[in-house]
C-alpha cells in the first residue's frame, strides 16, 4: 500500500475511535459538560492535559523550528515545559480546591467583581481564538499533503470531527478523546524518532542518539552535534549548538521569550481548566506531574529529531542534482512548502547561509512530517505521523473550544445576563456556543493569520500578561483588591497586545535596536507580566482591602485538606 492508502486507513481508524468515544461519553449535565463531573483520575488527566497541551505547533512545527534555530530552539523546549512547574506548585492545586467551573469565575469571586470576571472572559476568549487558529491551519497542512485534498476541505473535515465530540461529549468527551489522541500522537512521534536514531547512531533511544556518534553516511564516526556544527560552518551558518553567535537571538531576548512562554503556559485557560476535572487538590498535583512526564517524553525527543532531520536533509539534498531529487522532495514542492530556485543554473541544489547563493527554501512546518520520508522509512510510518499530527491539532482545538464555550455560556450568559438560567438551558447554550466557536475556528483555519508556531507564541504572551499575575496574587496575596486586579490585567494585556501589533503589523521591519530592551514581540509578555504585577500590587495598597469573606476564602484554599465546591 502506498503512503496515501495508509494515511486514509490510519486517519479513518483514529477518527472512528474519537467518534466512538464521543458517543460513549456524552453528557447531560453542566458539571459533566464543563468539568467532566470532576471524576477524572490523575493519570488519565495527565494524558489528556498532555494532548490538550501539545498542539499542532508542538507536534508539527516545533522540531522543524529547532532544526533551523539550533540552540535558540531552547526557548520552546524550556518555555513549553517549565510552566508546568509553576502550574503544579503555584496554581493548579489551589484553583482545584476552590472548585467552580471556569477561570473567569475564580477571578470574579476572588476579586468580588463582575467587571474583573468580564475582563477575564474576554482575555480567555481572545487567547483561545488566537491559539485555535493555529490548530486548524495544522489540520489543513496535514490534509493537503497526505490526503491530497484542498486545505479548505481538510479544515472542514477537521471542524466536523471536533464539532461532533466537543458538542456532544463536552469536557467528558473531550477528556477521553484526548487520552486516545495522546496515545496516537506519542506513538506517531516516537516510532519515526526511534527508527531514525537507530539508523543513524545505533541507539534506539533518541535522547541518547542525540549525543552519540553517527554510524552511516559521509560523516560516520563523528558525533552528531559536532557534525552539525561542522556542516553549519561549511555552509556559512552559525554553529548549531552555539548560543549567541551569528544572527541568533540575544541572551536578553531568549530569557524574555522563555519566561513569557513558561508563565503563559501557567496562565492558559484551557490548561488550567483541565485541573478542574480531577477529584481534589492532591489529584491536581499528581496529574500535573503525569502531564509533565508525558509532555517531556515528546519534548526531549523533539530536539533529537531536529538534529537528525537537519543532518539528513542537508546530506540528502545539498549539492545533489535536482533531476535526481527524491520523490518526497517533488511532492512537497507541489504544496509550495519546499522551493528550489537554481540561481547559478548548474542543476544542483545548493543550500547556503549566504542568502544570495542559497537555492533551497524549506518551510519549517514540514520537517516533522517530511522526516520519515527523508529517512526512507516505510509508508505506514509516514501515514502514522500524519494521523499523529491530526490528533495533536484536534485535541488542542477541542480543549480551546470548550474554554470559549464555557466562557460564553457560564460566565457571560449565566452570571451576567440571566442569573437563574435553568441547567438544561445553560447546557444547550454551552453547546450552541461550542458549535459557533468551532465554525469561527474553521474560518480562521482557512484564512490563517501567519504561521502556526508564531501565532501560538502570541497567545502565550497575552496569557502571561493577563492571567498569571492575577491568579498568583489572588491565591497568595490577600491584600490584592479588585481595583488592583482590574488595572493590572488591563495594563498587562493592553501593553502586550499593543507592542505585538506595533512590531508585527505596523512596523514589522524594526530591528532589535528599536525593541524595548532588545526584547522581541514573542518575549514581551514577560514585561507585560511584570507591569501587571507592579500595578496590581501598588493599586491594591491604595484601595480598601478585600471583604472579610474573600480573605477567609483565600486562607481556606491555602489550608491543606478537602474541597470547597458544594
Amino acid at each position: 500500500m502506498n503512503i496515501q492508502g495508509w494515511t486514509y486507513l490510519l486517519v479513518g481508524i483514529t477518527f472512528s475511535v474519537y467518534i466512538g468515544i464521543a458517543i460513549w461519553s456524552r453528557v447531560g449535565t453542566t458539571s459533566g459538560f464543563y468539568v467532566a463531573g470532576r471524576g477524572i483520575p490523575p493519570l488519565a488527566n495527565g494524558m489528556a492535559t498532555a494532548a490538550d497541551w501539545m498542539s499542532a505547533a508542538s507536534f508539527i512545527s516545533m522540531a522543524g523550528l529547532i532544526s533551523f534555530m539550533g540552540y535558540t530552539g531552547t526557548i520552546y523546549l524550556m518555555g513549553w515545559t517549565g510552566g508546568y512547574v509553576l502550574l503544579a506548585l503555584l496554581l493548579a492545586p489551589y484553583l482545584r480546591k476552590y472548585g467552580r467551573y471556569t477561570i473567569p469565575e475564580f477571578v470574579g469571586d476572588r476579586y468580588y467583581s463582575q467587571t474583573a470576571r468580564v475582563i477575564a472572559v474576554f482575555c480567555a476568549i481572545f487567547v483561545s481564538f488566537t491559539y485555535v487558529a493555529g490548530q486548524m491551519r495544522g489540520v489543513g497542512v496535514v490534509f493537503s499533503r497526505f490526503l491530497e485534498v484542498d486545505v479548505t476541505i481538510g479544515v472542514i473535515i477537521g471542524v466536523g470531527i471536533v464539532f461532533f465530540y466537543a458538542v456532544i461529549g463536552g469536557m467528558r468527551g473531550i477528556t477521553y478523546t484526548q487520552v486516545a489522541q495522546f496515545c496516537v500522537l506519542i506513538v506517531a512521534y516516537l516510532i519515526p524518532a526511534v527508527a531514525i536514531s537507530w539508523k543513524m547512531t545505533g541507539w534506539a533511544i533518541p535522547q541518547i542518539g542525540f549525543g552519540a556518534t553517527l554510524i552511516e553516511g559521509q560523516y560516520a564516526g563523528m558525533a552528531l552535534l559536532e557534525t552539525l556544527d561542522a556542516i553549519h560552518r561549511d555552509l556559512g551558518l552559525p554553529e548549531y549548538t552555539g548560543a549567541w553567535v551569528g544572527g541568533k537571538k540575544s541572551m536578553v531576548d531568549v530569557l524574555a521569550i522563555t519566561m513569557a512562554l513558561m508563565v503563559g503556559t501557567a496562565g492558559l485557560p484551557h490548561v488550567l481548566i483541565r485541573f478542574y476535572t480531577v477529584p481534589n487538590a492532591r489529584a491536581a498535583r499528581w496529574s500535573a506531574m503525569w502531564a509533565l512526564i508525558f509532555i517531556g517524553l515528546l519534548y526531549t525527543t523533539a530536539p533529537a529529531v531536529s538534529a537528525f532531520a537537519r543532518v539528513n536533509m542537508i546530506e540528502t539534498l545539498n549539492e545533489q542534482p535536482y533531476t535526481s531529487a527524491p520523490e518526497w522532495f517533488k511532492s512537497w514542492e507541489g504544496t509550495g512548502l519546499i522551493v528550489f530556485k537554481d540561481r547559478n543554473g548548474d542543476g544542483l541544489i545548493q543550500y547556503s547561509g549566504n542568502a544570495g547563493k542559497n537555492e533551497l527554501t524549506v518551510d519549517r512546518d514540514i520537517m516533522v512530517l517530511a522526516n520519515p520520508e527523508i529517512a526512507k522509512l516505510p509508508a505506514w510510518v509516514v501515514a502514522l505521523v500524519a494521523a499523529g499530527g491530526l490528533a495533536a491539532a484536534l485535541s488542542t482545538a477541542a480543549g480551546l473550544l470548550l474554554v470559549i464555550s464555557a466562557s460564553v455560556s457560564h460566565d457571560l450568559l449565566k452570571s451576567v445576563m440571566w442569573k437563574d438560567m435553568p441547567q438544561n438551558v445553560e447546557l444547550r447554550m454551552a453547546r450552541i456556543a461550542a458549535a459557533f466557536a468551532v465554525i469561527v475556528a474553521g474560518i480562521l483555519g482557512i484564512y490563517p493569520p501567519g504561521f502556526v508556531a508564531q501565532v501560538v507564541a502570541f497567545a502565550f504572551g497575552l496569557a502571561a500578561a493577563s492571567f498569571f499575575p492575577i491568579l498568583l496574587l489572588g491565591i497568595f496575596d490577600k491584600r490584592t483588591t479588585k481595583e488592583g486586579a482590574i488595572s493590572g490585567m488591563l495594563l498587562g494585556i493592553g501593553f502586550t497586545a499593543a507592542y505585538i501589533i506595533w512590531f508585527r503589523f505596523v512596523d514589522p521591519t524594526a530591528t532589535a535596536d528599536q525593541w524595548l530592551f532588545g526584547i522581541s514581540p514573542e518575549g514581551i509578555g514577560t514585561i507585560g507580566m511584570v507591569l501587571n504585577f507592579i500595578v496590581a500590587i501598588t493599586v491594591s495598597r491604595f484601595t480598601s482591602p478585600p471583604p472579610i469573606d474573600v480573605q477567609s476564602m483565600i486562607e481556606d484554599i491555602r489550608a491543606p485538606g478537602g474541597n470547597r465546591d458544594t
Binding site: 463531573g37 483520575p41 540552540y71 531552547t74 512547574v85 506548585l89 542525540f210 477529584p279 481534589n280 506531574m289
Partner: protein
C-alpha cells in the same frame, strides 16, 4: 517550595541560558554541557521537581491529618453537582 522554585530558576535560566557558553566547554558524551541542559536536562529536572513537590505535599497533608483524599477514590464532590 522556595527551594524547588529556586532549582527551577537556576536550571532553566542560569544553566540553560545565562551560563550556556562557559558550560559548553565541558562535554557530556557528545553533548556540549550547556546545550544539554538547555535542550534535555532542564526538562528532566522539571519532572523531578513536580514529583518531589507532589510527594512532599502528600506528607504535609498526612501530618495535618487531612488526607487530601485518594486521588483515584470518590470524594463527595465527584458526584455530579449543580450549582
Amino acid at each position: 517550595m522556595v527551594v524547588l522554585l529556586s532549582i527551577w530558576f537556576v536550571v532553566s535560566y542560569l544553566l540553560g541560558i545565562v551560563f550556556v557558553e562557559p558550560l559548553n566547554q565541558f562535554h557530556l558524551g557528545g553533548f556540549p554541557l550547556g546545550f544539554w541542559f538547555a535542550q534535555q536536562g532542564s526538562i528532566f529536572v522539571f519532572i523531578a521537581l513536580t514529583l518531589v513537590y507532589a510527594l512532599a505535599m502528600d506528607r504535609i497533608d498526612r501530618r495535618h491529618g487531612v488526607d487530601g483524599g485518594p486521588p483515584l477514590g470518590r470524594s463527595k464532590d465527584s458526584s455530579e453537582t449543580v450549582e
